[in-house]
Protein backbone atom coordinates (compact mmCIF):
# COMPACT_ATOMS: atom_id res chain seq x y z
CA UNK A 1 0.00 0.00 0.00
CA UNK A 2 2.74 2.44 1.00
CA UNK A 3 4.77 1.78 -2.13
CA UNK A 4 1.60 2.27 -4.20
CA UNK A 5 1.15 5.70 -2.58
CA UNK A 6 4.76 6.63 -3.30
CA UNK A 7 4.25 5.39 -6.86
CA UNK A 8 1.19 7.62 -7.30
CA UNK A 9 3.25 10.58 -6.14
CA UNK A 10 5.91 9.79 -8.70
CA UNK A 11 3.31 9.56 -11.44
CA UNK A 12 1.84 12.90 -10.34
CA UNK A 13 5.24 14.62 -10.25
CA UNK A 14 6.21 13.10 -13.59
CA UNK A 15 3.00 14.36 -15.22
CA UNK A 16 3.53 17.81 -13.73
CA UNK A 17 6.94 17.82 -15.37
CA UNK A 18 5.25 16.82 -18.67
CA UNK A 19 7.41 13.71 -18.94
CA UNK A 20 6.29 10.36 -20.31
CA UNK A 21 7.27 7.16 -18.50
CA UNK A 22 9.78 6.50 -21.29
CA UNK A 23 11.37 9.94 -20.87
CA UNK A 24 11.68 9.70 -17.08
CA UNK A 25 12.92 6.11 -17.27
CA UNK A 26 15.63 7.19 -19.71
CA UNK A 27 16.78 9.96 -17.38
CA UNK A 28 16.89 7.49 -14.48
CA UNK A 29 18.71 4.88 -16.49
CA UNK A 30 15.99 2.25 -16.14
CA UNK A 31 13.42 0.79 -18.51
CA UNK A 32 9.87 2.04 -18.95
CA UNK A 33 8.34 -1.22 -17.61
CA UNK A 34 10.53 -0.88 -14.51
CA UNK A 35 9.35 2.66 -13.89
CA UNK A 36 5.79 1.54 -14.51
CA UNK A 37 6.22 -1.13 -11.82
CA UNK A 38 7.43 1.52 -9.37
CA UNK A 39 4.50 3.81 -10.15
CA UNK A 40 2.09 0.92 -9.68
CA UNK A 41 3.76 -0.09 -6.41
CA UNK A 42 4.60 -3.52 -7.83
CA UNK A 43 8.27 -3.12 -7.04
CA UNK A 44 9.75 -1.65 -3.90
CA UNK A 45 11.49 1.60 -4.43
CA UNK A 46 14.75 2.11 -2.58
CA UNK A 47 16.22 5.29 -1.19
CA UNK A 48 18.92 5.89 -3.83
CA UNK A 49 16.49 5.73 -6.71
CA UNK A 50 13.89 7.86 -4.93
CA UNK A 51 16.59 10.47 -4.30
CA UNK A 52 17.39 10.38 -8.01
CA UNK A 53 13.72 10.68 -8.97
CA UNK A 54 13.36 13.63 -6.59
CA UNK A 55 16.38 15.29 -8.21
CA UNK A 56 15.19 14.73 -11.79
CA UNK A 57 11.63 15.86 -11.04
CA UNK A 58 12.87 18.77 -8.94
CA UNK A 59 10.91 17.86 -5.82
CA UNK A 60 12.02 17.50 -2.21
CA UNK A 61 12.28 13.89 -1.04
CA UNK A 62 9.41 14.28 1.43
CA UNK A 63 7.06 15.19 -1.42
CA UNK A 64 6.96 11.47 -2.23
CA UNK A 65 6.51 10.39 1.36
CA UNK A 66 3.20 12.08 2.16
CA UNK A 67 0.28 9.87 3.02
CA UNK A 68 -3.18 10.19 1.50
CA UNK A 69 -4.57 11.13 4.91
CA UNK A 70 -2.31 14.15 4.92
CA UNK A 71 -3.63 15.10 1.50
CA UNK A 72 -7.01 15.73 3.07
CA UNK A 73 -5.43 18.62 4.94
CA UNK A 74 -3.23 20.28 2.36
CA UNK A 75 -3.60 18.36 -0.86
CA UNK A 76 -3.77 21.47 -3.03
CA UNK A 77 -1.54 19.93 -5.69
CA UNK A 78 -3.85 16.96 -5.98
CA UNK A 79 -6.90 19.26 -6.25
CA UNK A 80 -5.20 21.12 -9.06
CA UNK A 81 -5.12 17.93 -11.11
CA UNK A 82 -8.85 18.57 -11.66
CA UNK A 83 -8.99 20.85 -14.77
CA UNK A 84 -12.21 22.56 -13.66
CA UNK A 85 -10.86 23.44 -10.22
CA UNK A 86 -7.64 24.66 -11.79
CA UNK A 87 -9.58 26.89 -14.23
CA UNK A 88 -11.66 28.30 -11.37
CA UNK A 89 -8.54 29.17 -9.39
CA UNK A 90 -6.90 30.87 -12.35
CA UNK A 91 -10.10 32.87 -13.04
CA UNK A 92 -10.42 33.84 -9.38
CA UNK A 93 -6.82 34.98 -9.30
CA UNK A 94 -7.49 37.38 -12.16
CA UNK A 95 -10.28 39.11 -10.21
CA UNK A 96 -9.72 42.09 -7.92
CA UNK A 97 -9.70 41.15 -4.21
CA UNK A 98 -13.15 42.65 -3.59
CA UNK A 99 -14.74 40.55 -6.29
CA UNK A 100 -12.94 37.44 -5.03
CA UNK A 101 -14.72 38.06 -1.73
CA UNK A 102 -18.04 38.07 -3.57
CA UNK A 103 -17.17 34.74 -5.20
CA UNK A 104 -16.20 33.33 -1.81
CA UNK A 105 -19.50 34.58 -0.35
CA UNK A 106 -21.34 32.82 -3.17
CA UNK A 107 -19.46 29.57 -2.54
CA UNK A 108 -20.20 29.81 1.19
CA UNK A 109 -23.87 30.48 0.45
CA UNK A 110 -24.05 27.44 -1.86
CA UNK A 111 -22.38 25.26 0.74
CA UNK A 112 -24.88 26.38 3.38
CA UNK A 113 -27.79 25.53 1.05
CA UNK A 114 -26.85 21.84 1.23
Amino acid sequence: MIFREIGLRIQQAREESCLTQEELAERLGCTQPTLSNYELGKRRLYLNLLNEIARVLNKPLDYFMHTSEQDQGDGIEKLLLDPQLKEMLISAASLPAKERNLVQDFINWRKNQK
Binding site: N37, R44, L47, M65
Partner: protein, 380 residues
Protein backbone atom coordinates in the same frame (compact mmCIF):
# COMPACT_ATOMS: atom_id res chain seq x y z
CA UNK B 1 25.10 -16.93 -18.96
CA UNK B 2 24.27 -18.96 -15.88
CA UNK B 3 27.13 -20.65 -14.06
CA UNK B 4 27.01 -22.71 -10.92
CA UNK B 5 30.69 -23.36 -10.29
CA UNK B 6 32.15 -21.42 -7.39
CA UNK B 7 35.27 -19.35 -8.00
CA UNK B 8 38.53 -20.14 -6.23
CA UNK B 9 37.95 -17.18 -3.92
CA UNK B 10 34.46 -18.38 -3.06
CA UNK B 11 35.74 -21.90 -2.39
CA UNK B 12 38.43 -20.46 -0.12
CA UNK B 13 35.83 -18.41 1.79
CA UNK B 14 33.69 -21.55 2.16
CA UNK B 15 36.59 -23.70 3.38
CA UNK B 16 37.75 -21.11 5.89
CA UNK B 17 34.23 -20.60 7.22
CA UNK B 18 33.70 -24.34 7.55
CA UNK B 19 36.93 -24.69 9.52
CA UNK B 20 36.01 -21.76 11.77
CA UNK B 21 32.54 -23.17 12.37
CA UNK B 22 33.88 -26.63 13.20
CA UNK B 23 36.41 -25.25 15.67
CA UNK B 24 34.71 -22.24 17.21
CA UNK B 25 30.98 -22.79 16.91
CA UNK B 26 30.04 -26.47 16.81
CA UNK B 27 31.77 -27.44 20.08
CA UNK B 28 29.78 -24.77 21.96
CA UNK B 29 26.42 -25.19 20.21
CA UNK B 30 24.86 -27.70 22.61
CA UNK B 31 25.85 -25.94 25.82
CA UNK B 32 24.89 -22.48 24.60
CA UNK B 33 21.52 -23.86 23.50
CA UNK B 34 20.96 -25.09 27.07
CA UNK B 35 21.90 -21.84 28.80
CA UNK B 36 19.05 -20.17 30.70
CA UNK B 37 17.73 -16.98 29.14
CA UNK B 38 19.72 -13.93 30.16
CA UNK B 39 23.09 -15.68 30.32
CA UNK B 40 24.63 -14.44 27.11
CA UNK B 41 28.18 -15.65 26.54
CA UNK B 42 30.31 -12.76 25.26
CA UNK B 43 32.99 -15.22 24.17
CA UNK B 44 30.80 -15.76 21.10
CA UNK B 45 31.62 -12.22 19.99
CA UNK B 46 35.29 -12.62 20.93
CA UNK B 47 35.63 -15.68 18.70
CA UNK B 48 33.81 -14.09 15.77
CA UNK B 49 35.83 -10.87 16.07
CA UNK B 50 39.21 -12.58 16.45
CA UNK B 51 38.67 -14.50 13.21
CA UNK B 52 37.16 -11.65 11.22
CA UNK B 53 33.55 -12.82 11.23
CA UNK B 54 32.07 -9.64 12.68
CA UNK B 55 32.86 -7.63 9.58
CA UNK B 56 32.73 -9.68 6.37
CA UNK B 57 29.61 -7.76 5.33
CA UNK B 58 31.15 -4.31 5.95
CA UNK B 59 32.71 -2.53 2.94
CA UNK B 60 36.51 -2.53 2.78
CA UNK B 61 36.68 1.26 2.95
CA UNK B 62 35.22 1.05 6.48
CA UNK B 63 37.53 -1.67 7.70
CA UNK B 64 35.48 -4.73 6.75
CA UNK B 65 36.17 -7.46 4.24
CA UNK B 66 33.55 -6.22 1.80
CA UNK B 67 32.35 -9.63 0.66
CA UNK B 68 29.63 -9.49 -1.96
CA UNK B 69 26.23 -11.00 -1.29
CA UNK B 70 26.93 -14.38 -2.93
CA UNK B 71 30.23 -14.87 -1.11
CA UNK B 72 28.56 -13.83 2.13
CA UNK B 73 25.84 -16.42 1.52
CA UNK B 74 28.44 -19.14 0.91
CA UNK B 75 30.23 -18.20 4.12
CA UNK B 76 27.02 -17.85 6.11
CA UNK B 77 25.75 -21.31 5.20
CA UNK B 78 28.78 -22.92 6.85
CA UNK B 79 28.16 -20.97 10.07
CA UNK B 80 24.45 -21.81 10.00
CA UNK B 81 25.21 -25.53 9.65
CA UNK B 82 27.29 -25.39 12.84
CA UNK B 83 24.84 -23.38 14.97
CA UNK B 84 22.41 -20.82 13.70
CA UNK B 85 21.68 -19.67 17.23
CA UNK B 86 25.28 -18.50 17.54
CA UNK B 87 25.20 -16.99 14.03
CA UNK B 88 22.18 -14.90 15.02
CA UNK B 89 24.44 -12.66 17.11
CA UNK B 90 26.22 -11.62 13.94
CA UNK B 91 22.95 -11.50 11.99
CA UNK B 92 21.73 -8.86 14.44
CA UNK B 93 24.88 -6.85 13.90
CA UNK B 94 24.63 -7.30 10.15
CA UNK B 95 21.09 -5.85 10.20
CA UNK B 96 22.34 -2.73 11.99
CA UNK B 97 25.23 -2.41 9.52
CA UNK B 98 22.84 -2.72 6.56
CA UNK B 99 20.85 0.25 7.88
CA UNK B 100 24.05 2.30 8.03
CA UNK B 101 25.15 1.16 4.56
CA UNK B 102 21.74 1.92 3.01
CA UNK B 103 20.89 5.19 4.72
CA UNK B 104 23.92 6.60 6.51
CA UNK B 105 25.87 9.71 5.60
CA UNK B 106 29.57 9.29 4.78
CA UNK B 107 30.45 10.52 8.25
CA UNK B 108 28.02 8.12 9.95
CA UNK B 109 29.38 5.21 7.93
CA UNK B 110 32.94 6.18 8.70
CA UNK B 111 32.24 6.48 12.39
CA UNK B 112 29.91 3.56 13.06
CA UNK B 113 30.73 0.94 10.42
CA UNK B 114 34.37 1.14 11.42
CA UNK B 115 33.24 0.67 15.03
CA UNK B 116 31.58 -2.64 14.06
CA UNK B 117 34.41 -3.72 11.77
CA UNK B 118 37.82 -5.07 12.60
CA UNK B 119 38.69 -7.04 15.67
CA UNK B 120 37.04 -4.64 18.07
CA UNK B 121 34.63 -7.21 19.48
CA UNK B 122 31.67 -4.94 18.96
CA UNK B 123 28.22 -5.78 17.62
CA UNK B 124 25.15 -3.80 16.68
CA UNK B 125 21.41 -4.33 16.82
CA UNK B 126 18.49 -3.20 14.74
CA UNK B 127 15.55 -2.14 16.90
CA UNK B 128 12.30 -1.93 14.94
CA UNK B 129 9.75 -4.28 16.51
CA UNK B 130 7.38 -3.00 19.19
CA UNK B 131 4.40 -4.47 20.99
CA UNK B 132 2.08 -2.84 18.44
CA UNK B 133 4.41 -2.80 15.45
CA UNK B 134 5.63 -6.11 14.12
CA UNK B 135 4.85 -6.79 10.48
CA UNK B 136 3.25 -3.34 10.35
CA UNK B 137 6.47 -1.33 10.52
CA UNK B 138 4.67 1.96 9.84
CA UNK B 139 2.90 1.55 13.21
CA UNK B 140 6.13 2.19 15.15
CA UNK B 141 5.26 4.49 18.04
CA UNK B 142 8.63 5.03 19.76
CA UNK B 143 8.77 8.80 19.84
CA UNK B 144 11.72 10.96 18.86
CA UNK B 145 10.91 14.35 20.32
CA UNK B 146 12.85 17.22 18.80
CA UNK B 147 14.82 19.16 21.38
CA UNK B 148 17.57 21.73 21.01
CA UNK B 149 20.46 20.21 19.00
CA UNK B 150 18.99 16.72 18.96
CA UNK B 151 16.21 14.31 19.86
CA UNK B 152 14.86 12.63 22.99
CA UNK B 153 13.70 9.04 22.47
CA UNK B 154 10.83 7.42 24.36
CA UNK B 155 9.49 3.91 23.79
CA UNK B 156 9.99 0.18 24.18
CA UNK B 157 11.32 -2.18 21.54
CA UNK B 158 10.53 -5.90 21.76
CA UNK B 159 12.29 -9.13 20.78
CA UNK B 160 15.41 -7.23 19.76
CA UNK B 161 18.30 -9.49 18.77
CA UNK B 162 21.42 -8.52 20.76
CA UNK B 163 19.40 -6.57 23.37
CA UNK B 164 21.81 -5.87 26.22
CA UNK B 165 24.70 -7.09 24.11
CA UNK B 166 24.96 -4.48 21.36
CA UNK B 167 27.38 -1.57 21.39
CA UNK B 168 25.07 0.40 19.16
CA UNK B 169 21.38 0.23 18.36
CA UNK B 170 19.71 1.42 15.20
CA UNK B 171 16.38 2.53 16.68
CA UNK B 172 13.40 3.22 14.43
CA UNK B 173 11.27 6.01 15.90
CA UNK B 174 8.73 8.56 14.77
CA UNK B 175 9.39 12.26 14.84
CA UNK B 176 5.72 12.94 14.05
CA UNK B 177 3.11 10.18 14.50
CA UNK B 178 0.65 12.08 12.25
CA UNK B 179 2.98 11.55 9.32
CA UNK B 180 2.83 7.77 9.76
CA UNK B 181 5.56 6.04 7.73
CA UNK B 182 6.84 9.37 6.44
CA UNK B 183 7.62 10.43 9.99
CA UNK B 184 9.92 7.49 10.72
CA UNK B 185 13.66 7.78 11.16
CA UNK B 186 16.48 5.62 12.40
CA UNK B 187 18.52 6.94 15.29
CA UNK B 188 21.98 5.71 16.16
CA UNK B 189 21.95 5.03 19.88
CA UNK B 190 25.10 3.91 21.76
CA UNK B 191 24.60 0.82 23.92
CA UNK B 192 25.61 2.75 27.02
CA UNK B 193 23.36 5.75 26.38
CA UNK B 194 21.80 7.29 29.47
CA UNK B 195 18.13 6.31 29.69
CA UNK B 196 18.56 3.10 27.68
CA UNK B 197 17.83 -0.02 29.69
CA UNK B 198 17.12 -3.66 29.01
CA UNK B 199 13.81 -5.16 30.10
CA UNK B 200 12.64 -8.74 29.81
CA UNK B 201 15.00 -11.19 28.13
CA UNK B 202 13.01 -13.69 26.06
CA UNK B 203 13.15 -17.37 26.94
CA UNK B 204 12.97 -18.64 23.37
CA UNK B 205 12.18 -22.01 21.84
CA UNK B 206 15.22 -21.89 19.57
CA UNK B 207 18.19 -19.70 18.62
CA UNK B 208 18.98 -19.74 22.29
CA UNK B 209 22.66 -18.79 22.06
CA UNK B 210 21.59 -15.33 20.90
CA UNK B 211 19.89 -12.93 23.24
CA UNK B 212 16.58 -11.27 22.41
CA UNK B 213 14.80 -8.87 24.67
CA UNK B 214 13.22 -5.52 25.39
CA UNK B 215 15.12 -2.31 24.82
CA UNK B 216 13.57 0.48 26.86
CA UNK B 217 14.24 4.07 25.84
CA UNK B 218 13.33 6.56 28.52
CA UNK B 219 14.34 10.05 27.52
CA UNK B 220 17.45 8.92 25.66
CA UNK B 221 19.18 11.99 24.23
CA UNK B 222 20.94 11.79 20.90
CA UNK B 223 22.43 14.69 18.93
CA UNK B 224 21.07 15.71 15.50
CA UNK B 225 23.92 13.95 13.77
CA UNK B 226 22.67 10.60 15.13
CA UNK B 227 19.58 10.75 12.92
CA UNK B 228 20.48 8.35 10.12
CA UNK B 229 20.84 10.08 6.76
CA UNK B 230 18.08 12.46 5.76
CA UNK B 231 14.94 13.19 7.82
CA UNK B 232 11.94 11.04 6.92
CA UNK B 233 13.84 8.17 5.35
CA UNK B 234 13.51 5.59 8.15
CA UNK B 235 10.75 3.56 6.54
CA UNK B 236 12.56 3.22 3.22
CA UNK B 237 15.84 2.35 4.94
CA UNK B 238 14.08 -0.28 7.06
CA UNK B 239 12.44 -1.87 4.03
CA UNK B 240 15.66 -1.96 2.04
CA UNK B 241 17.73 -3.28 4.95
CA UNK B 242 15.15 -6.01 5.60
CA UNK B 243 15.02 -6.92 1.91
CA UNK B 244 18.82 -7.21 1.89
CA UNK B 245 18.69 -9.43 4.98
CA UNK B 246 16.26 -11.84 3.36
CA UNK B 247 18.67 -13.93 1.30
CA UNK B 248 20.84 -14.33 4.40
CA UNK B 249 17.82 -15.50 6.34
CA UNK B 250 17.16 -18.01 3.59
CA UNK B 251 20.76 -19.16 4.04
CA UNK B 252 20.08 -19.61 7.77
CA UNK B 253 17.30 -21.99 6.78
CA UNK B 254 19.46 -23.81 4.23
CA UNK B 255 22.24 -24.26 6.79
CA UNK B 256 19.93 -25.63 9.48
CA UNK B 257 18.18 -27.93 6.98
CA UNK B 258 21.54 -29.16 5.70
CA UNK B 259 22.68 -29.93 9.24
CA UNK B 260 19.47 -31.89 9.93
CA UNK B 261 19.64 -33.71 6.61
CA UNK B 262 23.32 -34.66 7.03
CA UNK B 263 22.66 -35.93 10.57
CA UNK B 264 19.71 -38.01 9.36
CA UNK B 265 21.64 -39.35 6.39
CA UNK B 266 24.52 -40.50 8.56
CA UNK B 267 22.18 -41.99 11.15
CA UNK B 268 20.05 -43.94 8.65
CA UNK B 269 23.15 -45.32 6.94
CA UNK B 270 24.56 -46.58 10.24
CA UNK B 271 21.46 -47.78 12.02
CA UNK B 272 20.63 -51.40 11.34
CA UNK B 273 17.03 -52.58 11.53
CA UNK B 274 15.67 -55.85 10.21
CA UNK B 275 19.29 -56.77 9.36
CA UNK B 276 19.95 -53.85 7.03
CA UNK B 277 20.76 -50.13 7.29
CA UNK B 278 17.61 -48.02 7.52
CA UNK B 279 18.73 -46.17 4.39
CA UNK B 280 18.19 -49.33 2.31
CA UNK B 281 14.45 -48.95 2.87
CA UNK B 282 12.93 -47.02 0.01
CA UNK B 283 10.60 -45.13 2.36
CA UNK B 284 13.68 -43.76 4.12
CA UNK B 285 15.96 -43.09 1.15
CA UNK B 286 13.14 -41.39 -0.79
CA UNK B 287 12.50 -39.08 2.16
CA UNK B 288 16.19 -38.15 2.17
CA UNK B 289 16.10 -37.65 -1.59
CA UNK B 290 13.23 -35.20 -1.15
CA UNK B 291 15.15 -33.40 1.59
CA UNK B 292 18.31 -33.07 -0.51
CA UNK B 293 16.28 -31.79 -3.47
CA UNK B 294 14.46 -29.21 -1.36
CA UNK B 295 17.72 -27.91 0.13
CA UNK B 296 19.27 -27.52 -3.32
CA UNK B 297 16.15 -25.78 -4.65
CA UNK B 298 16.25 -23.32 -1.76
CA UNK B 299 19.94 -22.68 -2.35
CA UNK B 300 19.37 -21.97 -6.03
CA UNK B 301 16.57 -19.50 -5.25
CA UNK B 302 18.83 -17.83 -2.71
CA UNK B 303 21.93 -17.64 -4.86
CA UNK B 304 19.82 -16.17 -7.67
CA UNK B 305 18.78 -13.37 -5.29
CA UNK B 306 22.40 -12.82 -4.25
CA UNK B 307 23.52 -12.54 -7.87
CA UNK B 308 20.73 -10.05 -8.60
CA UNK B 309 21.84 -7.94 -5.61
CA UNK B 310 25.52 -8.13 -6.60
CA UNK B 311 24.70 -7.05 -10.16
CA UNK B 312 22.54 -4.17 -8.98
CA UNK B 313 19.30 -5.60 -10.37
CA UNK B 314 15.87 -5.57 -8.75
CA UNK B 315 15.62 -8.35 -6.20
CA UNK B 316 12.70 -7.69 -3.84
CA UNK B 317 10.35 -10.39 -5.11
CA UNK B 318 13.13 -12.93 -5.56
CA UNK B 319 14.45 -12.26 -2.02
CA UNK B 320 11.00 -12.91 -0.58
CA UNK B 321 10.65 -16.09 -2.64
CA UNK B 322 13.97 -17.36 -1.29
CA UNK B 323 13.14 -16.54 2.34
CA UNK B 324 9.62 -17.98 2.07
CA UNK B 325 10.64 -21.21 0.38
CA UNK B 326 13.80 -21.82 2.38
CA UNK B 327 12.27 -21.19 5.81
CA UNK B 328 9.28 -23.47 5.20
CA UNK B 329 11.60 -26.04 3.65
CA UNK B 330 13.82 -25.99 6.75
CA UNK B 331 10.93 -26.66 9.13
CA UNK B 332 9.78 -29.51 6.89
CA UNK B 333 13.26 -31.01 6.46
CA UNK B 334 14.01 -30.83 10.20
CA UNK B 335 10.69 -32.46 10.96
CA UNK B 336 11.39 -35.25 8.46
CA UNK B 337 14.92 -35.73 9.81
CA UNK B 338 13.57 -36.05 13.32
CA UNK B 339 10.99 -38.57 12.15
CA UNK B 340 13.54 -40.70 10.27
CA UNK B 341 15.73 -40.82 13.36
CA UNK B 342 12.89 -41.81 15.66
CA UNK B 343 13.64 -41.51 19.37
CA UNK B 344 17.21 -40.38 18.62
CA UNK B 345 15.84 -37.45 16.64
CA UNK B 346 13.52 -36.44 19.46
CA UNK B 347 16.16 -36.70 22.15
CA UNK B 348 18.51 -33.85 22.98
CA UNK B 349 21.47 -36.25 22.79
CA UNK B 350 21.57 -35.50 19.08
CA UNK B 351 21.07 -31.98 17.74
CA UNK B 352 18.16 -32.59 15.34
CA UNK B 353 15.53 -31.45 17.84
CA UNK B 354 17.60 -28.26 18.26
CA UNK B 355 17.68 -27.74 14.50
CA UNK B 356 13.91 -28.07 14.46
CA UNK B 357 13.55 -25.46 17.22
CA UNK B 358 16.02 -23.11 15.53
CA UNK B 359 14.35 -23.44 12.13
CA UNK B 360 10.84 -22.51 13.19
CA UNK B 361 11.54 -18.86 13.92
CA UNK B 362 12.73 -18.30 10.36
CA UNK B 363 9.13 -18.47 9.13
CA UNK B 364 8.30 -15.68 11.60
CA UNK B 365 11.35 -13.44 11.77
CA UNK B 366 12.03 -10.25 9.79
CA UNK B 367 8.78 -10.34 7.87
CA UNK B 368 6.61 -13.37 8.58
CA UNK B 369 5.95 -15.60 5.61
CA UNK B 370 2.54 -14.04 5.01
CA UNK B 371 4.38 -10.75 4.47
CA UNK B 372 6.71 -12.53 2.03
CA UNK B 373 3.71 -13.85 0.12
CA UNK B 374 2.23 -10.36 0.08
CA UNK B 375 5.45 -8.91 -1.35
CA UNK B 376 5.61 -11.64 -4.00
CA UNK B 377 1.93 -11.16 -4.89
CA UNK B 378 2.42 -7.40 -5.25
CA UNK B 379 5.15 -8.07 -7.78
CA UNK B 380 3.06 -10.42 -9.92
Amino acid sequence: MIGFALTEEQLAVQKKAREFAELYMKPYAHDLDRMPAGHFDRKIIDRFATHGYTSFFIPKEYGGQGLDCLSSAILWEELAVACDGISRVIAGSMAAAKCLIVGGTSEQKRRYLTLLAGGKKRVGAMAITEHGAGSDVAAVSTLARKVKDGYSLFGTKYYITNAGVADLYMVLATTDPAKQYAGLDFFIVPGDAKGLSIGKIEDKMGMRAAQNGEVILDNVSVPDENLLGKVGTGFLVAMQALDLSRPMMAVDAIGIARAAYETALEHTRKRIQFGKPLFSKQAVSFALADMATAIDAARLLTWRTCVLIDRGHEFTKEASMAKLFASEMAVEVCSKAMHLMGAAGYSSDLPVEKYFRDAKVLTILEGGNEIQRQIIAQGL
